[in-house]
Amino acid sequence: MNRKWLKAFTLLAAVTMGVMSVTSCGNANDPTAGMTEEEKAAWAAAASDPYGKYPELVTYTTGYNLTNQGSDVLAGTPYENDTPENNAYTRYLKELLNVQNENAFEAVSGPDYNQKVSMAIASGDIPDIMHVADYETLVDLVESDLIADLTDVYNNLACDTVKAAYESYGEENNPLNTVTFDGKIMAIPKTQLSDGQDFLWLRKDWLDKLGLEEPSTLEEMEAVLKAFIEQDPDGNGQNDTMGLVVHSDVYGDYPNNTFAIDNVFTALGAYPNIWITAEDGSAVYGSVQEEMKQPLELLSRWYQDGIIDKEFATRTNDDIVGLISTGKCGAFIGPWWAPFNQAQTSTYGSDDAEWVNVSAPVGEDGKINAISTKSYAGFVVVRKDFAYPELAMKIVNVNSEYSKQDKTETAAEVKENQTLAYFNWPLYCEVQPGNNAEIMTQHVLDVMDGKADASTLTTEEAGYYESAVRFLEAEEAGQKADAADYSQYTARIPAMTRMINEPANFLVPAFFETTDSMGSRWASLEKMEMETVLKIITGEQDISTFDTFVEEWKKAGGDTITEEVNEVIAK
């Protein structure tokens, strides 16, 4: 009995495998086999044109980045039955290029998506085209020879917008440098917009009430914060307001870490949490330099005087948002898009708060000292042997250039979906110049000032323009504008205008990635660093602890990692 079953099973397995190998053979065949010359020419033409439409539907497998919102945002819109394989973006690409995605996997971008990518790589079965988020994974893929060389594809097919965007980062910081291995372009880098500098966001209504000027230097900032604490800016007769809220991480992830106070450090010439170039040209870690002492001493004094939140070390992000939105605090440090934070939108709605971004605290030359972000934020790679490698470039072209200028009915859906923000573009790769946010604001301002016509705006800019118009109309009528319009207007127009008019000094870190030893040691080193910083600020230990910390840091692996970083840079 048993034997018989075994035999039957083996036979079944053999047959299945046979069938499978036959089908996979079919896939591997040259797609042009058995075509007439004319058909071949049509396919070749499509493959060599940045926006060429394929004669027949081309299906590609991919990994799809989702957003972490419930599909309920689509409920009640015409898009409620859309799926990641059939939505405004995929329909648009199908219409334009005659291509269709088949998702090998879908996941929310971030850790979930990255895990799917590592699973696909581990099982040796990667999709035709996919987005990978980190540099290590890209190196892995290149070293295990799984992805295609895209040099020709890029040189022949990249649209002008994409090429110009990469070049706008300058020769040193060009995202293409990162994806070039032995002179071959192995991926299409997604660009990371320059996030600009952090600002000191203040309640303008409080400043006006207390008759204060906008601060600029550290001393002026301290005076304003003191006034916010002592002079009852909310006018309720109670001593219930506080100075500056501070993220429990104090600094890092510049400038994306809203409430972190890197600017206080950089104003005094310290650059914590990044690799900087020392005077002798080598790379050193900013957090262990002598310059750290001065800001730490200052913060320790501020903590003693109550100028920064006494409980900052134990507050979560939600706690801080709570403090601001209940009107207990009117000062925080954050980037130009801080108006999108609930902290601001809720005070706008309930408290008539008016927020303004101030260039403070400034360094010696009167400008904010800021830190540059890296120029890339992910990569699109193509599976080796995929018959249509140019497809990846074409989709990036459409995403970055064509769709923005397309004002026809076809693009209307895409535009609407941008505000719904439930689906992302397939491949999740938009290539923009580093200062794109500034450029877009400039265009919108031109239209608002009557210098240009609204029809000159791209679809995305038009969205911002409409938000601004709605906001201003509501304000003029004495009403509260929609929170989304408030955020869009305040961030894109007044805040961005200040960013353009009050430029900062930008320091480009010497190194962005990680090295081998960091995997095992970096987490504990960072923990040690943050503990020391918190202890010094809260006054539990005095500033002399810093020297002991630096010694320990070096011994516990800091020196090894510094050497590794310098080796990688030297390569």
């Binding site: 945002v73 998702n103 934020a377 923000a421 999740y428």
Partner: protein
């Protein structure tokens, strides 16, 4: 003297009560907070004002939930998974625990099997090998990927072995003399007297299947196939740290925490319903009275 002792005892009792109450509170309060958030207005939630009682009471999020088709699709997948998964678990637990509960005399290879079982409990292959096995068996994206990799819950098997061991051998022998086959003995004698243990094991399985989000994330490559907890997990992924303009756009329309809390609350309801039904079996001592010594 007597009073002194009783004071000490009372103090000890009070301390025990205090600890128990604190532990209960630490389990219960987050749930209460979640319910309160789900019934509060989104503004109150955003400004972190909600504690244990709803602020600006509203049930709009519950109305909104009725429109979320993916929530209900995922809910249905989870229900299927619990039913199928629990049946499979119970089948394997019972059919494995019964023979392994017999003495070495009647089942000589018992020790080897027990060791294999314990080995499997202590060591696992790791995520990537597990994923590759499941993927090579073409179970990715199917409900089988959610129920088969955990088909034999080893801990529950050991629990059941020990319970079966406690069943008096005289029952077994009496049935044997009456001519019952081993299978009949299992079904007619062992299972009825083991209801408390079976209920416990079933509850473990149900809770386990209902609450597991990770296998959904790992084996389901389409978001439309996510079971409920995976669906909820991906809503609560932290994007407070914006890293690109794409995410900025999302933030402007981010669905609010109150709505996510509603989803979490609704997702716990099925378990709250099942629990009382199984609880009546947790009364011990059913075996008592089956044999007269």
């Amino acid at each position: 003297m007597v009073q002194k002792v009783s004071v000490g005892t009372r103090l000890a009792k009070a301390a025990i009560w205090l600890i128990v109450i604190l532990m209960t509170a630490s389990c219960l309060l987050p749930l209460v907070n979640m319910v309160a958030i789900s019934f509060s207005s989104s503004n109150a939630v955003a400004s972190n004002q909600v504690g244990l009682w709803p602020v600006e009471f509203t049930a709009t999020t519950y109305q909104k939930l009725l429109n979320d088709s993916q929530f209900w699709a995922s809910f249905w997948i989870s229900v299927q998974r619990v039913v199928l998964g629990t049946l499979i678990n119970m089948f394997f637990v019972i059919s494995m625990a019964y023979p392994l509960s017999k003495s070495k005399l009647r089942f000589p290879a018992r020790e080897i099997y027990i060791k294999i079982v314990i080995f499997a409990m202590l060591f696992s292959g790791g995520i990537i090998p597990l994923f590759m096995v499941v993927s090579k068996l073409h179970m990715i994206n199917s409900i089988w990927a959610l129920v088969l990799p955990g088909a034999v819950p080893v801990f529950n098997v050991i629990l059941m072995i020990n319970f079966f061991k406690g069943v008096p051998t005289s029952l077994d022998e009496a049935a044997c003399i009456d001519g019952a086959s081993p299978l009949t003995i299992l079904v007619k004698i062992y299972l009825p007297v083991s209801l408390p243990a079976l209920a416990t094991v079933a509850l473990f399985s149900i809770v386990n299947h209902w609450n597991d989000y990770f296998s959904g994330l790992l084996y389901m490559n389409k978001a439309s196939l996510y079971p409920l907890q995976t669906y909820i997990q991906q809503l609560t992924v932290d994007i407070t740290q914006i890293t690109d303009a794409e995410q900025l756009k999302q933030l402007s329309t981010m669905s609010n925490r109150a709505f996510n809390a509603t989803k979490i609350v609704v997702s716990t309801i099925p378990l709250l319903i099942i629990y009382p039904f199984l609880q009546k079996y947790f009364v011990s001592g059913i075996v008592i009275g089956a044999v007269k010594e």
